[in-house]
Symmetry: C2
Amino acid sequence: MKKQLFFWLLAAGFPAAAQTPTPLTARQGKVKLTFMLAAGQPTYAVTYGTKAVVNASRLGLAFEGGQGFDGPLTLLGSEVKDVDETWQPVWGEVKNIRNHYQQLTVHLRQPAAPGRRLDVVFRVFADGVGFRYELPRQLALGNFVVSDELTEFALPADHQAFWIPGDYDTNEYLYTKSRLSAVDNAQQVKASTEIAVRDAPDAQAVATPLMLKADDGLYVNIHEAAQVDYPAMQLHVDRASHRLTARLVPNAVGSKAFLRAPSRTPWRTIIVSDKAPDILASKLILNLNEPSKLPTTDWIKPMKFVGVWWEMQIGKSDWKYANSADTLDAQGHLIPTGRHGANTANVKRYIDFAAAHHIAGVLVEGWNVGWEDWFGAWKEQVFDFVTPYPDFHVQEIKDYAQSKGVQMIMHNETSGSATSYEQHLDTAYQFMNRFGYPSVKTGYVGRIIPRGEHHDGQWMSNHFVRVAEMAAKHHVTVDMHESVRPTGLSRTYPNWLSGEAGRGNEYNAFSIGSPPEHETIMPFTRFIGGPMDYTPGIFKLQNFEPTGKRSVRTTLAKQLALYVVLYSPLQMAADLPENYEAHPDAFKFIEDVPVDWDDTRIVAAEPGDYITTVRKAKGENEWYLGSITDENARTQPVKLDFLPPGQRFEATIYADAKDADWQKNPASYQITKQVVTSKSTLTLRLAPGGGAAVSFKPVAGK
Amino acid sequence: MKKQLFFWLLAAGFPAAAQTPTPLTARQGKVKLTFMLAAGQPTYAVTYGTKAVVNASRLGLAFEGGQGFDGPLTLLGSEVKDVDETWQPVWGEVKNIRNHYQQLTVHLRQPAAPGRRLDVVFRVFADGVGFRYELPRQLALGNFVVSDELTEFALPADHQAFWIPGDYDTNEYLYTKSRLSAVDNAQQVKASTEIAVRDAPDAQAVATPLMLKADDGLYVNIHEAAQVDYPAMQLHVDRASHRLTARLVPNAVGSKAFLRAPSRTPWRTIIVSDKAPDILASKLILNLNEPSKLPTTDWIKPMKFVGVWWEMQIGKSDWKYANSADTLDAQGHLIPTGRHGANTANVKRYIDFAAAHHIAGVLVEGWNVGWEDWFGAWKEQVFDFVTPYPDFHVQEIKDYAQSKGVQMIMHNETSGSATSYEQHLDTAYQFMNRFGYPSVKTGYVGRIIPRGEHHDGQWMSNHFVRVAEMAAKHHVTVDMHESVRPTGLSRTYPNWLSGEAGRGNEYNAFSIGSPPEHETIMPFTRFIGGPMDYTPGIFKLQNFEPTGKRSVRTTLAKQLALYVVLYSPLQMAADLPENYEAHPDAFKFIEDVPVDWDDTRIVAAEPGDYITTVRKAKGENEWYLGSITDENARTQPVKLDFLPPGQRFEATIYADAKDADWQKNPASYQITKQVVTSKSTLTLRLAPGGGAAVSFKPVAGK
């Protein structure tokens, strides 16, 4: 056997004294990346045409115990390569994704003995830049602990920002629109009592995706891609200089990441354009993720679903079966309150509704023992994920759903106890396989166990990937709630269909809710990382709960439009069956609208104001449009030039009625039909807090 | 259905204003327990005949957020009951165990609203007292977090103590004999660099089991029983007053225990006698544990074993296969050093030896990938527990061992990453089932993951129980190394055969080792909680490693005696086959000695000085004796009145030769035989650091 030490080759690859002159550059279209090493300090800058996107900004990683890449570095060399390829996602907004970039790899060395090496890899796309740190295999670096990431984003001006607090445990805040110089999350964090667990020690920290709008017309989005084995990046805002600095969510002992070379960080992403729609259309983050790791994907099915869920959110029924874990009869059995939502008869009602309306799935929350004492005590063993309440008959429900052609969706709430979930994971997924649940919605409401860890730290980042992997092994798709926000990992784990990690429609049920502008911001922020199970489709928008004080602050037509504007391969029809049955004509749009697409066009968009999106159904000659506005009424013209020329389509327009208004008359809608072609133009009238949804189906015989 | 609230019944059981007068007492033999409530402060005291064992000492539990049982309490009532029963352990030192005690239950209430209730349950045995706190099911107490346990042990005088530091992560220190007033662990903790992970923030804290000797002749041992879902108790020593206070090992966020009523703490145990042998013979801790929870136990087999292990400890071979994880050839494969111990040929050599000498098992450490980078970096994913090195052929070894009638023993080193082990547990045990490993030795060398948790905290306490339960599910027996020290849980989980959690023979291989007195202290301390895999049987006691500086500080005969003196249902013959083959006559004792017994008598014992133990083989008319001394030579007479009267036995005496001495001539032994009866007396001559082992077998035909 030839005993050849691979690492010697690597180490020998670069003469120690090489000093390639900087700047080094890479570009694609209008985007240009410049790397500089001045006085040993690596920086990068990004321009878009003649406009500065990011001024010279620091790069680096600091290690515990020193000897990281925070001191002066030397340049060993660099390489540039061009890549242009096209790939097909298992599901998504488009059928084909072009991955076209110029890559600059910069090899750096720490001059202090023993001379550790770091690569910085930049990928420059026509719509932005991604870069990451890579620690190659080397003798001088084995295990290490990241104490800080020094990455900066030096913004050239005091942009408008759409931001939520940089919280270690939640992304469910309302968005604030402010100048960077005005970022201060302290009051909001304190006041947001509708969010169960909050931990945001830095008042000047914001979460990503961070959406920015410059006064010179540039739109900039900062986030990350492929967050694996690493904590989430948040951004500390220096309000005077508009310089953003990476802040990594710490672990239980205050460290950031335990790693071993060879290793690499997630990609730091900057999406940029002078047109807001381009931000929404960007595939930069998906392109920076690894291809699917799953051996097969034919079992992965996007779908719509209804569920025993909204009725608990609005207080009509309960997750729990008894009043408390101590409400026991003489035999030691829980005494039912009679308010338990997940009972067999009620579940069958949802199955019947789904079957009647071609909705593929039925989610049931509160089906399993533990809800009497599930939250707030940082308990580790709360649920075992396999034991139903006495009134939930697993086998009977399985048989009934199968007979109706409906698929059951499992619910695994962990109450934040990730260790407990991992202990039960294999058993839980075997249970799903046995009882016909092809999909699971997970939940992490509560402080995390391992105690001291955070939802958005390295340990949980690995946990979420483990869940996706274990689910895939059992051919189960996943919808993760209260997880870290997505960074495009659904490309690598296409069974990771959707998630929450943002402020969904549910906040309208139990809290002050979200203002009409909310859904016009979400696609520019939370959805930049991937699909969200936003749970649209509420038809009863007011007076749906006992106090009468809560409301969903949109019109009904806007709820329909959200199925197109907010992309997810899992979409819930969240309202109660009886509320849908009161509006069968409007519900037709939800029945029709697909969850997987061949193509997508962003017709018009402005964060915080409006979005109009049109998509082509996968494998079908059908198109669907969604248009939404904030609290202001708007008229939105739409040229139908996306339709194939020379064909006639029947457009069914679900629009706000003339008197519609999110506050005064949200459920007022009108449905009209007209025949159109690619030369037609539709003019949509959106009410305050309103929207419009349109289906385009080919006219038969033409 | 009759809706009857069980907790109302409970709450109604005691009139709120009842004030039973104290003292309340319970007694058994010479032991008397007194409970007092004075000014709302509960205390207890213990006497042995006329002698004070524990003076009036505080009781109580403090909760995070207050409203615990640290303030003044009122007495609701009390009950006394007597229990006398006999049970049979699955394996052990005796066939029958008598559980004979008087129980006093004291019902207390916190007067502050809402009036939470606490029971203190005392069990008084002829050889000591156990007591625990019980939190009954009650409306006023759901989830709670223990911030401190207030239990005290007010010792009446400045006793001699045999102690090790109260360390959150290890019990592998050398014992110090000192007065309580001289306890200070700081220097020892700092200097004990042979122990990988040490964390002992309180210089006046000692671990349990704590062995005490009073000047008035009493022997007292303080420990705990049934440590489940609760951290280990350590003891803070007030050096002036000789008052010991419970200190619970904290978790990652500084709390002690997350619990929910109904709940109960482990038993706090005080074993007492005026004869040292009674301490060793006590079954108090086993009696305080729950009966077996396993549905079947016939698959649980005590056994002796050899293993590929000591050769790594002494530097003859390595656990690792390559020099480092980065020592790769051009194909990316590890480049072997040629020093890997766990190779198929070497393993077969041990199998051959075991088969030839009727040793049931063969342990192999270092068989699986990961040892190049397993320790010191707090890495979570180190081993996967199922991937062998290229030179360890799992199937071939399985087939070979089976053909020889030998059982393989698995090794699962976790490097402290308990989360990773739990992730892989089911897969790892399925692997054992497939490849014929009925037993596993686990290891936790390193800082614990979940990071911030400790080996001896609540989380790991639960982990160890989970491992025992999962192993039982797969019919696997367990030997846990670097776990929390035992508290009798092998009664409840009889597949939990043995453990480490103490300073075993291995320290003689790689460190300054342990002095001759060590093994005379261990049965009074570490072994009070349960069996230890001490790995006795070293025959090559000097010059066994390259430096020639290490030595095992006993004679060879003492190594034999340890198989009787140190009880474990798993006993290793730890030395190399070639070292045994050099002394086949002495090895005959190891071949013969059982690991399961019908009866045990402690002939003579004094902590730190000497122990002589004799045991009857389970189901056989054979007896085995072990006698050990410290650094002083001793003559130990032994009356053979334990032998059945009227029968003749051949005694084979493995004794130190006249010139034997642990320092100068440790391997000098002589083997003699004589015929004896129950009326005979043997006089054993123990060399400095020496011992003697004797087998008694019935003389055929008489």
